[in-house]
Each structure stands twice: as C-alpha cells, then as structure tokens.
Amino acid sequence: MSAAIQQNATAATQTMSGAEIVLRALKEQGVEVIFGYPGGAVLPLYDALFQQNAIRHILVRHEQAAVHAAEGYARSTGKVGCVLVTSGPGATNAVTGLLDALMDSIPLVCLTGQVPTHLIGNDAFQEADTTGITRPATKHNYLVKDIKKLAGVMHEAFYVARSGRPGPVVVDLPKDILIGQGPYHEAPTAPHRSYRPQREPNPEMIAQAVKLLKGAKRPIVYAGGGIVNAGPEASRLLTEFVRLTGMPCTNTLMGLGTFPASDKQFLGMLGMHGTYEANMAMHGCDVMLNIGARFDDRVTGRLNAFAPTAKKIHADIDQSSINKNVPVDVAIIGDAGLTLKALLEAWQASEQPRHTGALADWWRQIEGWRGIQCLRYQQEGSIIKPQHAIRRLYEITQEIGRETFITTEVGQHQMWAAQYFGFDKPNHWMTSGGLGTMGYGLPAAMGVQIAHPDALVIDIAGEASILMNIQEMATIAQYRLPVKVFILNNEYMGMVRQWQELLHGGRYSESYSAALPDFVKLAESFHARGVRITRPEDLDAGIREILAHPGPVIADIAVAKDENCFPMIPSGAAHNEMILGPGQEGGVKGVTDEGKVLV
C-alpha cells in the first residue's frame, strides 16, 4: 500500500477497534446517514453503530436498494452516499447499484463485510471475492488486510469517490480487521500520491473554444450530468453563459435541471426520445459545446451521421471521455463549474464580432422545428394518456409550490417523465441513465426523502419496474417516509412492448405484466395509502389527494395500454431521421439489420 498511508500511520495517536476506526472515519468525512443491511461479517460494525448517535442507519430490505437509496441521497445533496452490507450475498446484491452509480458518476462509499483474513480463499460461509467481483463495477475498491492501513483507506475511499469524475468505491472489511485493535489518524492534508484529477481548464483551450463559439452561425450548448456533479453553482454559471451568449441549450437525461426547463432558450432533452427541435438543432449546428456529457449512444444516434457539419468542443473532467465515441476539435479537461467560469470570462474579454444575423436565422429555424410541437398529445375519451398524467402531476406540483424531487424507474414512464415534467433546478431529478436499472426509483426516493424530510418526493414508476424493489415499502413504512409512488400502469413492460411493436412484428414476447398485484391492497398491507385512478376526469382530484396525504402513497394510474413513447430516433438512425408519432412508424421499417443489433 502507499507510502502516504503508511506515513500517516506513524503519526497515529489513538488505538481503537477496527469498527470504531471505520465509524470515526465516517464521522470525520461528514457522513450523517448510512443505508445498510446487517449480517455475520459486519456484526462488529453494527455493534459499534448501536453504541453511538452521530450516524443514522437506515435499514433497507435488500442490499441493491441500499445502494440506490445512497445514490438518491448523494444526487439530491451533492454529498457522498454511504452503504454498509455484509459479505457474500450482501456484497453481490449491491453490485447492480454499484454499477448504476459508476455509469451515472454518483459518489458512493460502500462498506462490505468480508470473512476473516485467514479464511479468505477457503470458500468460507458467505465468502465472495468482493474486490474481484466489484472491480469493473466501481471506480476503485480496497480490501483491507492490515488494520494499520484501515483509517487511511477509509479517508482515501471518500477522496476517490468525490474527486474528478465521481463514482462508487468499495471498502472490503474482513471481520478480524473490524474486531482487531489499531491506530486512528485523521484524513491526510497532503495531495494524493497518484490520483489528482485536473480541475482547472487549460486557458489556451478556453480561448480556442470561445473563438469557435463567437464565430458560430448555428451554435448549440449540450449540457449533461457533469454539471450536476460540479455543484449548483455550475448550473447557475451554465444559465448565465447560455443567456449571455443567446445560444440554444439542450440537456441530456442526466443533465435535466442544470438549465431551467422554463427558459425560452431551452430546447428540451436530446437523444433517442429527445425533442425534435433539440435533435434537429444538434444535427444542423455548426459549433457544439458539450459540457459534462459523454456522447452516449442514446444521445448520438448513428455516429457517422452525428452533427456532421459541427465543430465540436468537449469539456469534461474525465480525459477518457474525450474522443471516446466522437472525435472533437477542442478538448477542455476540467471541472464543469470552473470551465464555465473561464468560458464566461473569456467570452466577456473577447472583442471578436459575432454573426448576429446568422444567429437570428438559426433561431428562426429552431422556432420552425418547435412549431411541429413534437410532444403534443390529445387527451380524449375515457382512458388516461400517460403523457397527460405526468403533465398534470407536474402542473399540480407547480401550483402547490412545494420543493419537489422526482425519481423514476426505467422504461416508457421514465422517458415521459423526462419529456413532460419540467426541471428548473439541478439535483431534483434522480434517474438511472447509463445502466437503465429497473427498480431504481423507489429506493432512490427513500434516499432523497431521508435527505429532504419536508420535501415532496415522487417516484414516477411503471407497474413492472416498481415490483423490482417493492419490498422497500417496508423501509418506507418503518421510517415514515412520505414518498409518493406514481405508477403509470399499462399492464406492459412498455418500452419492451414498444420495441416489439416497432421492430419485431408486434410479437409481444413475455412483455405482458400478468398477475399484477392489487396495488391498493399492496399499499395498505405496507401501512401506506393506496389510490387507484382510472378515469381522466378523476385525475386532477386524485393527484391533489395523493400529494396532500401526509404519509406514503401508492397511486395506481390506469393508462392507455398501447401508447408509445415519441418522438423516437430508431436505433442506428440519425438525429434528422426521427419518428414523431403514430402513423410514422413506417420510418422504422427502414431500420437496417445493423440498427437492429443495437439496443
């Protein structure tokens, strides 16, 4: 292990048990809440937790949920989320959550129990090679085999989780290490020996970027989740920059809220289910500024047709995101907030003239695309449209004016939530973007509610996804978390059904949600309120009732079963080959075999 850690060990003052070292380090790192589930290997830690009051432990009902809850906590507060699980199945159950956090760059520290060091490798009871299994699912991981290094590893884990591009870190703790006696020392003040991500952008690159942007005739800003990770100030700077420059701005799924959805310069989300205007503007732009996004395949569509005429500027804190999928012209490595600050200053200092006429033409073109009203829908007849349900939920939360956080599961309802719920602030939208983990939303909502006890926290769900972590209703009951679960129930795994309809000849193989529970009774059995809404005329009153209820609610909203999520860029297609709605599915027939291979 490192020289830095050893050096600190020599400066140790106090001796205590491994479990006490862990808790002391958590306190020093500012941890207030830990999500976990006990088991044999972590009993010493649970014993130490029992004897203190500084750190609150939230008992989940499945380890995957502990990680998602910590993600919701982290994403809504900007702090590092913390998880505690036992060895073997405790650790393996956490893996999905860890990979979810890795893909979406969420800072977490996950403590896993491990069999005592002398039994490692012996196939002991509840033994798993946790560091081996989680290596590709974490930003970094540690197995602590020497108690003298424990405090140093704990501090380093938090440093790694929150620095640079944030991510999950696992610390695997053998039981003999937790029981043994060792030295505690405080977090080091010296820089880390090897991991020192670049935060300050290179001024030369900033100058090149401003030169391109000032000279642009059809510019666009494409902002992602990196701005959320850089803190609320980064979102404020993004808003200032976009308003100052008069450019159109689009957000990725992870970036929603970093630029106000209510702003007239906002084009909506881009990508596979993004708006027509955002995707057409991406396709037609001549200069693109990507800040804190990673040219994900959901965003780019077919790579060789992605923004073919654009000069591309990519600002990212992670060097490995640069030129990974899309070759760029200007690369800026650094923190999104510091980059935006530098861009603003360089922009204001530059006297380079702009193409104001061309910019006005660009906006006229964008207004033309907006005129298509790609998110328009018709609520008529006796069946609730899912889009309408979300739109009304949004509008009514706006009327109520309470601070509102939205989490989602994964599928059609997630995309509709992204399209029809407006986010004006960062950190208020929690969704599984990269990994697409069904079952994310309910535990994430718990984590958000723990961090924001007085806020309105709503999990927009589908009837299939919600069943993937439904056991967490017990956690919600235990801690009296007033989470509202808003199920858009179409009795299908809707996104699977949609792809089967569009790409597999309407053969709905295994996508029907058969044998669903009675969600009202299910809610009641978990000590929550259950509400079912089936008629459009009952929707508004129903939503008001749900939001006004002081405790947890499951709302089962029966929505149109055959509704598809549009607009849509079929896989393997370009941004300017969108399908806008039903009747245009013919466009999908043009999907090549190459496109069909893509997910």
Partner: protein, 174 residues
C-alpha cells in the same frame, strides 16, 4: 469528419508505473478485456528500491483513437502513477527474453549451434539430445530464430514479453 488516417492501425508500447499492490495487474488486465482492447504482450515487475512501484510494459494495437483511449483509461486508475506511450516519445528500445529448447541429433545439432552463434543466442543447457538457448532481442529477431529452429527439432519456446525504455536522457519517473 474522420479521415482515413484515423482508421489506420498502429502498434503501441505503453509503459505504466503503478503502485505495487495486490490486484493492480487484475485491474489493468480487466480494463483491457472489459473494453475489448487487445494485449499482445504484458510484463510487470517492481522497479524501485523499496518495491513500492511496479513498471508494466504493454504492447497493444489499434487506431489512434483507441490507443489514446487506452492511455486515458489506464491513467484514471487510482493506483496508476504514470502512463507513457514509448512509441510516441521518440526512439525507444524494446527487448524480450526467450528460452528455446531444440531436440535434435547429428548434423542438426551442429546446424543449430551455428545458427545460435550467428544470432548470439547462448547455450544455457545441453544434453546429448537437446539444447536450451537463451536469447534477447526484439520480437522480429526472436521470431526469425524460432523459425530457423523449427526444422531442426524445435520442442518448446518460452518468452517474457516485451520490456521497453526510451533512448537518451528522458526517463519515466513516478
């Protein structure tokens, strides 16, 4: 737009200085297999006085974009201290050690010895029916010698994989 140059494949010899800790090799190898990069050869050993730093030499290939990606991915591993593309740092030396066993008798023994002499391979073991030659050099030289030994009774080959170092004063330090 990408031009044809960007699709051209090249080989790269990448030197990586890492903390000498358990799991680091698994991390590097897992990165290559998980992301579908190609490893042609990989060597690793501690290189500093107190054995806290190891040097890994990886020979890989790909387009310029892929090689840049490999270096960036390696660089963001927490225990990685330095990543250096020796192929880009100007002239560098690349060497490999080979032990090669040839089983033969009569005139073929004489021929094997003559060729070994020409290639500056050393005899490190001999019986009445076999030789083991030791040889260092770059890959081409080792392969040429192996090819010559094949008709003479080549029985077994073992190679270390490539190690590399830059020529001149430039030195890679943690």
């Amino acid at each position: 737009m990408p031009d044809n140059n960007e699709n051209k494949l090249r080989n790269a010899t990448i030197a990586v200085l890492v903390d000498n800790e358990p799991g680091i090799l698994a991390r590097v190898v897992g990165l290559f297999s998980g992301r579908g990069y190609n490893i042609e050869s990989l060597t690793v050993a501690p290189v500093d006085e107190d054995r806290t730093i190891s040097r890994i030499t990886i020979v890989t290939g790909g387009t310029e974009m892929v090689i840049e990606q490999i270096k960036a991915q390696l660089d963001r591993l927490v225990p990685v201290r330095k990543v250096c593309d020796l192929s880009l740092e100007g002239a560098h030396l690349a060497r490999e050690l080979m032990l090669i066993k040839v089983v033969c008798t009569g005139e073929q023994r004489m021929e094997a010895l003559r060729l070994a002499d020409a290639f500056r391979a050393r005899v490190v073991d001999a019986t009445t029916a076999s030789f083991v030659f030791e040889m260092t050099g770059n890959g081409d030289k080792l392969e040429a010698f192996t090819a010559l030994m094949r008709p003479l009774g080549l029985a077994e080959v073992v190679r270390t994989g490539v190690i590399g170092i830059a020529r001149g004063t430039y030195s890679l330090k943690a």
